[in-house]
Every structure is written in C-alpha cells, then in structure tokens.
Symmetry: D2
Subunit: 390 residues, 4 copies
Amino acid sequence: MHGNKHLFIPGPTNVPEQVRQAMNIPMEDMRAPDFGAFVSDLLDDMKKAYRLENGRVFIFPSSGTGAWESAITNTLSEGDSVLMSRFGQFSLLWVDMCERLGLNVDLCEVEWGKGVPVEEYAAKLAADKDHKIKAVFATHNETATGVSSDIAGVRAALDAANHPAMLFVDGVSSIGSIEFEMEKWGVDLAVSGSQKGFMLPAGLGFLGVSEKALAANASNNQKMNRCYFSFEDMIALNDTGYFPYTPATQLLRGLRVSLDMMLDAGMENIWSRHTFLAEGVRKAVDAWDGCELVARGPEWASDTVSAIYAPEGVDARDVIGTAYNKYQTSLGTGLNKLMGKAFRIGHLGSLNPVMLCGAISAAEMALRDSGAKIKAGSGVAAAQEHYRSK
Amino acid sequence: MHGNKHLFIPGPTNVPEQVRQAMNIPMEDMRAPDFGAFVSDLLDDMKKAYRLENGRVFIFPSSGTGAWESAITNTLSEGDSVLMSRFGQFSLLWVDMCERLGLNVDLCEVEWGKGVPVEEYAAKLAADKDHKIKAVFATHNETATGVSSDIAGVRAALDAANHPAMLFVDGVSSIGSIEFEMEKWGVDLAVSGSQKGFMLPAGLGFLGVSEKALAANASNNQKMNRCYFSFEDMIALNDTGYFPYTPATQLLRGLRVSLDMMLDAGMENIWSRHTFLAEGVRKAVDAWDGCELVARGPEWASDTVSAIYAPEGVDARDVIGTAYNKYQTSLGTGLNKLMGKAFRIGHLGSLNPVMLCGAISAAEMALRDSGAKIKAGSGVAAAQEHYRSK
Amino acid sequence: MHGNKHLFIPGPTNVPEQVRQAMNIPMEDMRAPDFGAFVSDLLDDMKKAYRLENGRVFIFPSSGTGAWESAITNTLSEGDSVLMSRFGQFSLLWVDMCERLGLNVDLCEVEWGKGVPVEEYAAKLAADKDHKIKAVFATHNETATGVSSDIAGVRAALDAANHPAMLFVDGVSSIGSIEFEMEKWGVDLAVSGSQKGFMLPAGLGFLGVSEKALAANASNNQKMNRCYFSFEDMIALNDTGYFPYTPATQLLRGLRVSLDMMLDAGMENIWSRHTFLAEGVRKAVDAWDGCELVARGPEWASDTVSAIYAPEGVDARDVIGTAYNKYQTSLGTGLNKLMGKAFRIGHLGSLNPVMLCGAISAAEMALRDSGAKIKAGSGVAAAQEHYRSK
Amino acid sequence: MHGNKHLFIPGPTNVPEQVRQAMNIPMEDMRAPDFGAFVSDLLDDMKKAYRLENGRVFIFPSSGTGAWESAITNTLSEGDSVLMSRFGQFSLLWVDMCERLGLNVDLCEVEWGKGVPVEEYAAKLAADKDHKIKAVFATHNETATGVSSDIAGVRAALDAANHPAMLFVDGVSSIGSIEFEMEKWGVDLAVSGSQKGFMLPAGLGFLGVSEKALAANASNNQKMNRCYFSFEDMIALNDTGYFPYTPATQLLRGLRVSLDMMLDAGMENIWSRHTFLAEGVRKAVDAWDGCELVARGPEWASDTVSAIYAPEGVDARDVIGTAYNKYQTSLGTGLNKLMGKAFRIGHLGSLNPVMLCGAISAAEMALRDSGAKIKAGSGVAAAQEHYRSK
C-alpha cells in the first residue's frame, strides 16, 4: 500500500488539515477557569450552524445514535404515539429505537429510494384530531439510500393541520452539508454528529433543541429514565460553560476550528458547494451503462451521498471490495436490503472536484473489474465537464 | 504564556507522544474489511488490562459516566435494591444516578477521607438473608478525595455471606494505574474511561462485564430502557469486530498504542510505578507545614491522586487559581464540600519524577503566594530524596 | 478552498502518514548517549537504499544543491577538467555550478528531451589518453524534461576506455524511485535529497561517496575551500554516530521511518512500482490529442516525472495556473526554455493509481479550460485501463 | 521510560505547540503562485526579529554553521585579516573555520568564562591605521560557557577608531532570546539558526546582512568560491519571493508561526523574560554548595544558557548521564576543556518557571546521585522564590 487512502464513505468524512492541526494537542483541564468561555462560544456557534435562534445545541461525547436517544428520552414518555416513516437502514434503526423505548409508532412504509411521505404525514396529522401524535419523525437525509426529504414540507403539513406535535429530524448526514433551517422550519429536535458535515472524527453527538422541546422536557413528568443523556444535567452545567462529565476536549478543539471554517464560508455556500460536487457524481452515474441511483428521481437525490445500483449481474460487494483492496478507496457499502445491489459514494464534507474524480475513477475501475460493461472513463469524463463549468 | 502547560489533574492525563502520533491520522472507514480484526484484537487486549479472563470489555463512545449507566441499565431493574457508600463527589454522583434510575439504594454514609466501609458492607450482606440486595457498588478510587478502597475486601464480604449480589466497581481512576484484578476479585461490572490510566483523550467509556453480569443481562426481562448503551447491540456487532454505531476510530487507534505500551510494560510494573510516583507527592505533602492529605491514613491514600487540605486560613481556590494563572499548572479543584478547602495533584498516567517535581514546585509556589507558611522547596526536596531512592 | 490540495510536482513529494507521524515530536538532544546508535543505523541503511556496499552516505542539512557542492569541493580542484552534458534546467545548473567553482567543463550540448550522450562520452573518454578528465558528470534523471539517462552505459564507457575519472551522478529525482545501483555501476559520488523518493519534506541533502571518492578526498591537497560540506568533519563525527553541527533531528526521525518503509518494500519493488505508475501517465498523454512527452522516445522517458508539451496554441502556464487555482492541484512548471510550452506531472514517491487518476483529471480539465482540444476523460480512461491491468 | 522527556540543552529548544501544529502539514509546491508572497512576508518579519531596518536576512536550509560560512565566503577574500577572540567551543570553531577558509586571523585568547575583550579589540583597531583588518568577529553568546559579550561595546570600539571593518556576530544562541539590535549596533553579518530562540527544529540557518555587507559582497571580486551559500543567487530569487533551490517548506511554515508569536510578544518582552527565567537558574546555582557558573561574573552571565561547574570531585559527565538515564532530562554537556568539569542548563526559547523547576530538580537529584554535597531542594527553593517575585 502506497500513497493516500481514499475515503468516500458518507462519514466519517475527510478531516481538513486545519482541524487535524487543532487536534494535535496535549490534554487540558476541562475545569480550567478559561474553559467555560471557550465552551460558551462554541455552543453559541453551533446554533449558527444549526440555524437556530432560540433553544440550545447539546454536545454529547457519543455518536449520533446517542443524540437520537437523548432527543426521545428527554421529551417523550413510554406509550406516546409518534409518526414515523421507514425507507432505509437509518430510518429503520430509528424506528427500532423508538419501539424499544416503548413508543407507539405509527409507521409509514416507503419504497427505498424515496423519502418522508409528506402527503401521507399530512393526511395522518389532519386525521389526528385528538393530537395523540406527540412527535413526528423525519429522516432528513437517509444515508443508506442517498435520499433527502422535504423537512419544510413536513413542517407545512403540521401547520396545515394546526398540529402541536414536536418535529424530530435526523440530520446526521445533512446538517452542515445541505440546506437545513432549524428555526425557520420549526424543527424541535435535530440530531447530528461530528463525523459528517462537521468534518471531525466520530465521537461527538449533537442535538439541537427548540424552546418548545425544552418546555416539553421541563413539563413532562413521565420522561424516560436517562442520566447520561439528560437535558437537565447538561443545561445546568452548560449554562456555566462546563459539562456534567468529562467532555472530549480534543474533539471540541477540533470543532472550534471546523465551525470557524464553516461559518467563515457561510452555510449557504456550503450547501451550494455540496450540490455542485454531488451533481458531478450524478453525471458520472448517468454515464455508466446499467448503473442508476437508488434515489427514485432527482427530487429525492441527496447532495451528501449517492447510493448507486450496480448493473444487473454485478455484485456491489465486489465493487466495494475491489475498490478497497486494489485501489485503496473506501466506498460505502449497501446496507440491509441494498447489500450486494448498491454501493455508495459519500460526497460531503471536506472535498473538491479532483478528489471526486479520483473517487469516480476508483469506482469505475472497480466496476469494470467486477464485470460491469461501463465504458472506461465515461463517468469521470462527465464529472469533469460538470466541474469545469464553474 | 510561554512553554508547556502543566497538567496535574486526575484526568485527563498527559498523553504519551507515541499515542499522540497514533491519533495524528486521516479518517478511516469503520466498516472496512480489515477493521474487524483490529477491533477484535483491541477488545481482547482490553481484557488483559482489566485482568479479565472471561466476560467482555465494551468500549463506548462516551465518558465513564455513560459506562456507569450502561452497567446499571443492562443488569438491574427499577426498584432493585443496591448497597452503596458515599464518601466523595464521584461516589455521590453514582448514588445520584442510581436513585434517578429508580434503584432502591441502601446507602452507607462514610466520612470523606475514608472509602468503602467493608465491615459495614459485610454486616449488611450477612443480614440480607433474602438476597434483596441485587448489587453491591464500590468506588475503587474516589477521585475527589484521593481515597482507594479495598475491592478484594468487598469480594471477601460477599463470599463470607455467600451472597449472590453482583459487584459493581467504579474503576475510572484506578484501572490501568493501580492494582485491579477483575477476574480474581470477582468484579462483575467495572467502569473506566480513556482519559485516566489509559493515557488517552476523553471520549471512550470502558465497561468490563463478567460472565455472571452477562447472564444477568440475558436473563433479566425487566431491564431498564436503553439503546445506545445496550449490551445486546454491542455484543452482536463486537462479535464480528464492528460496532452498532460509528465508533471513535481516532481514539481507538490511540488506544491500540496505549494498550501496547501498557501490556509491554506489564500491569504489575504500572501499579508499582504509580505507587513510587505517588509516594513522592505524599512526602512533599508531609513536608508542607499545615497541609495534610484528605485521605484519613495511609491505608486510604490513593496512588493516582492526592487530595490535599490547604493550611488553615488558606483558600484552596487561590492555590489552584494561582497555579493556573501564574504558573500555567492545572491542579485539581476541591469538589463539593472540599471546595476551598482542598486541592488535588493527579499523579496517574504518563508521568515521571521530574514532571512531579515541577508539579510540586508549582503547588509550593502557589501555596506560598496564597499565604501558606510552608517552607520554600520543602516539598520538592522531600520528593527528590524519594525519587532518588530508586 | 475545500478538501485536500493535490501535489504532483516532481518533489517535494507526498509524505506518507507514518512519516508524518514520526515527525510529530518534541525536540531532542542530538548529543544524547543513545543518539549515536540511532544515527549509525540510519547511515548504514542509507547505504542500502543507495545500493552501496562500501563507501559512505553523508546526510547534510541542506538541499540537494548543497550535496552537489559537497561532491565537487571535496574531491576536485580548481582547473580540473570534467566531462558534462546539458539537456535540461538541472543539468544546466550543475554545469553552472562547476564553472563557478572553477572547473574546466568539457560540455556536450544535448537536445532537451534526450539525456546523457553515452556514445559522445565514450568517444571523448577514449580520446583522453592523458586522463585530463578528472570526473564525468551524469544527470540520472533530468527533472525538468522527464528524461532518464543510462548510468550503467556511462560506466561501461569509462571501463571501455579504461579511464580513471570519477563518476558523478545527480540522482536527486532518481534514487529511491528508479533503478539505481551505486556500487554495481561504479558511481563515485551520487547526490540526492529528502524530498523526492525518500518521501520527506525538503531539508536534507544526501551524498553517496565511493571508496575511490573518499580516497580522492584524502589524497587531494588542492581541494576547494569548504567547511560546512567538508567530508573530513562529517567523517570524524559520523564515525561516532554524531554530526559536526546540529543535525535536523526531526527530519532524521522521519527518514528513519521512510527508510524502513523503503527497505521493507524492497528497492526492486519500488522501482517497478514507479514504472507501473508512470506508464499510466504516459498512456494518458498518448490519449491527449496534440500533447506529447518532452522525452524524445520511450528509452528516455522517466519513471518519476513526465514533462508534457501542451498542444500547439495552448500556453502551458495557463494549464498549470488553472490546475492550481481552480483545481487545487500543483503541477510542475516548464522550466527555462520549456516555460509556456510544457507542464510536468510528478509521479514519484508515495502515490497510487487513484491519486494519479485525480492528477490526470486535473490536468485534463485544466487543458480543456486552457483551450486544448483533447477529449474529456480520454487520458484518465487510458490510465484506468492500465492501472486495472495489474 | 514514562512521561515527557525534558529538554534543557541550549538548543534545539522546546517547540511551542502552535509551531508543532503548523509543521503538521502535507507538502506543498515551493513554486506555487502564492508561495512568493508568503516568503516575502517572512523575510520582512525576520528583519524585525533581527532589528534590522535595511539590509536583508537570508534563510538557508542548513545549520548555523552554514550561515557562518556564507557570511565569510560572500564578503571576504583569502588572506584577509580578521580580528577574532576565542573563549569557548563555538568561538573556537569559528576561528577554525576562518583559518581553514584562508583568512589571516588576529586572535585574542580569552579565559573561558569571559567574552569578547572589548578593550583589547579597541586597542588593536586603533593600532590598525592601514585598516588591514577587514572584519571583526564577535561571538555574542558563547553557548559552551554561558557567556554573553558586549556587542554594542565592539561597535563603539570600531567607531572610536573610525575603523571600516565589518562587524560579524555569531548570534546563534542570542538572537530572538536576548537583546540584539542589528541596525542600532551596526552589525554587518549576524548568524543565527532555527533551533534556538526561534523555537523550531534545527534545519534553518539565518544570516542578517547589512547594506554595507551587501555592498562588500557586490564590490569584492576576490570572494571565495561558494554556490550553495552565495548571496547573489539568494538575492535574485528572494526578490521574487522564491529560493534558488528547494527550501525546507515545513520549517518555513513553522517559522511563520514562531515569528508571529515572537513579534506579537514583542522582542523587548522576550529579552526580559529570558533574563527573568535565567535569574532563577542562577539563584539555584548560587544555592548549590560547591557549584558555580563558568561565567566569571554577572556581567558575563548569559540569559540563554548557564554553564555550571560541578563541585570539586564530581564528574560533570556523571551528572549529565544520570539526568538523562535516570531522570529523562537532557542537560548540556561540557564541551572541550569543560568536559567532565561543567554541565549546562539551557534556558532559552519556549520555557516557563515550572519547567525550570523541573530542570533544576533534575540537576539537583543528578548532582546528589553523583556525589555532590549540595542540599536537596536548595536550588529549586531559591529559584521558586525568584519566580514567585513577579
């Protein structure tokens, strides 16, 4: 093995050099007098990345899965009804968690390749005159299928029904990469993690919480048991600039730099950059005979990850294995029912066109090695022409 | 500020250069074909550090607090009776967690400066003929007071009473530093974290689990709700060398190197090194007029952290603040009822005599600046003589 | 600017992560008792990379230019006649140095695109019955034109003429990358540097010196003035494992790791890897309409760098500027008479096919942006098919 | 070995974390379009650290020894008379270089422990009516003996004699640490290196050159042979922001940060900080029975390094060896005639009082281990009281 390994999974993403430098540090005292101001600024700036005016963002030493659990256990009670939809491995796991935590899930099954069924949600919300539904769950970006959903549409459905349910969003692979407006869209709980758009190693779970969700936490006497992920402990200490237990300071120092990079760039510019980069990958997929996106139409295609069906007769696992073993390139695997059928190219975070030309080349070579009849260079040629257009 | 900052809190501890190098890496795919073998070896070697033959060690992206929660929620049920003792901020927080999670705590209050009341435990266990007590909790090393407890003694008490309760140990600031024998002592659940004896940044919670505790998890149908910290998910994936959610790979790569360093050194040698280093600090404290250990006698004094009462009339917060602001040295603060009365010197992890002579000098200068009538250089002179003795 | 910058100049080359880790260190004492053994091993292993049984390799804190100067000033005298050839910017600069240092240069001018004129050398050596020529200079790899020369052929010419002149080789961009056999080829002085095949940052100049050259140094009483680059001082201290002045210890620690990587891989495998990678770039150039190698035929084409004529009417500076500014990719510039006409792709050091597919894509996009009528993706398609073939 | 190694030699010095971060980078193109502006700013700021309004500072990939050679070979001719003094290993080596380069050295031998004999210089300059002396050499800080000389005094002597000789200063271990005013003092050539006050790894030689020295270079037709270290090549390229050969870019990126730190702190503050830190070490030496500074009086004592005579009967090599092997602490060795008699503590660069308390403790323990009858803790107690005084 020589040269760089190439990482094109939908998270962990590539860490910018500045962030890597910022994490190359000795340890520090998380109770130092000047640590509190550092944390307070960081929490404020996290709200900017979340586009949240009011409310809070919590930072847990955890993965995004932990932030999911925090969102649920702090605001809902066993037996509460929630509206969910399932169209990929991560929305599936979220449903699984809700069921295990004792929620009563009203589940919309959706074809994998499409996203949150806004109209079905609207109908159910309109029908729920008694407001039994306490929360509506929406996976903003289904990482397994490369599908983005219309969160603003879900909000509109709630508003149209004049429904008081909280809106939970899984933004793990969307926040910091594609358009996300927590305050404007009336999102109440928004989960993310360090290893995607925030361009850090895995290890931090983020949770944006609206004023309404904070009130739900404060007024609910039947909350589920939780300590590590409890809002109360975090609020009490965060208000002083500290944490209820030892925070992952190395990652926080990295987050300081990645947030600076993000806010300096401007969130809108980050979003449009992701669209531009993603479009090049999609042009490549279009150029590959027999390949197509798992996303069932451009309105669903995600700007952070493309899940791609291998051509008929080609095992996507061979493509992924060949890319890794022969070309030192990590592509995303096909999860659950996509296993063997699809592979994924992550195109979020710290990336640029030449990196993606490398990724597309690796996929192209691995596809041909695995028996696909695509034309050599066809994808990268299409991507190049797109990337040149700017 | 010029030169190194000096870190002498009882965790996070100083990270060895080799570990720091190992974390200076690009991100990687946690589903890569060769990642599983890496994880399997790591989990095996964690058992060696825990001195565990059977059972498992889990690695959570969390702090030690998360591992506490995992231990409880996976093996106990709401309303279960547990035997606990409280003699410092961390044993206090553990009691608090158990109460919040709905356990019925039989609590022994102990003077701060002493540790687990083995005889009181023994009496209670002997009296518990019906075996209502499902678990006995022991804080091995109370980080707030610099007190170590006799875990083997607790085991002996359980055995003497022929009591089937599980033995829970908080080893956050002991495992990897001072003598700890999970298998030999019959510990069922042993909590630790990355940022102490394991010489890593904070961000990983460790949980050693005995066969008996695994069986308790498997057979208990009234376990508390938990997903993130559930044993089942972790076992299912760990058995394949992977994790149920994105692991903190950067820290795992660092852990690989710190574990190698630890196992190469030999756990017994690590323990005796900690005793040797701690003894120098204690000699310094003895030499300081008016200072004394919070630990009420040598049998309680911890080899990983010394909590030290400032002399009468000296506010320990001044000592800590002066050390930090004037001497770039982080000492541990006095927590809870020790606030203002005591400061702490952490002496665990990647340390050596000259580093501790610096720490003692910083404390000495800060003490004198804060009004203590100790003799300049008295502590470091005593420590030097001890360190020369080897 | 987002994502990685891409470096495809013929040095400095990309530094492997292991080497980067090894340089992430605190400073150390270059007179420490254990430093000498470290240096001695390093010097021994440098000889293995040079394929030198006898003689020595010196490591100077300098660039390769300094090592050039050391070679000359330690073994030759003002007025000495030397046989040289000029066919690119670096052979040109070497001639310039020799003239400035007072040597009497017998110069063969060669068309840029070809290399050392072995037959002309042979004729001159045969004609030099009085052995006025003290040294024969050969640029093994002319970095400016992407041309490799036949050093074994030069040795054969010397042997055929039974000529005692020393053989000087500029191996800056060849040693550690393409076949180089110092002992077998009877090379007397061989210059290299850290930032090419040795995969380190710039800052170290290497000089391999044969027994014969050492003897020339020892016996020559008219050597030129030099201190910093003098053999005597270096020999005296190197023999004890130290240096006559402060060495660049950080780079030496990096060199330790890069040498380990090189010797573990095996020099022959490194050479064949460079051929394989270079061939992909050449296939791409072949596929680009109107582009061609500066090298005048496959026998001259270098496996470490390709100098490529831009198509008629395209300014190569536009290609390079566009690659850098629009595609974050550093290509090598056209030096001297190649300025505006040619650009270069470095393909030596720590590289792999997917990195080169990125480089070729960047060049391809920049060429089209600059008006070249090449077909999008044509080069990368050709390269891919080559890289798949292994 | 556990914990940090401690480095208290007079260079390489401890590298600040910010500088270390800045060197943790991928390689870059030293011919990139934006590299020139980076270099130009760096060269400008180097002049600020040198306190030079006019003239230039050159940065060579070399040690300070190379910069010595550059100063001489660019401005003097073989046979030129120079006035020098010798009072330690480094002034000795400088004399040696001058003699080897063919200069006619008028040498003042001075007792080791004193510095440049200003009055003797004054007398010789006054006597040199024909201005045969082309240059006056002064070692500002003799690193081997811990002695600083009066450069302003040498300038005054030149001025008093109205003598046109150039003033050469070895500022390797003074510039960036103790008061140095190149322009104000009329220094013509001032040598330094990266690994001392500039707080970088070794690998860069610095040379400040006055307008007068530049003119001497331009007008002198008998300059010595040199290419690598020639002013002309460096000037031609530096004027465009580039270098005549591959620069050590990693170190230049580190230098950017260390210069920022230095200029932000203010040179005067750096100088007074060094005095403050040095004074603590001297207090310790005073407190050690039987030890004394090599410097023959406070007027000679250097603020960057203290050379300390071990007590009668104690071999200083034992002290140094014990410090290194038992206490992981590098002290400076006794060079040349000081070998076995003295050891050195470097106190320049990125340091603070607690680090020096560690150094003093290490020396104290090693002294006692080696048989010195000093009182344990005596030195560190004296140092502490000094450091508290601020």
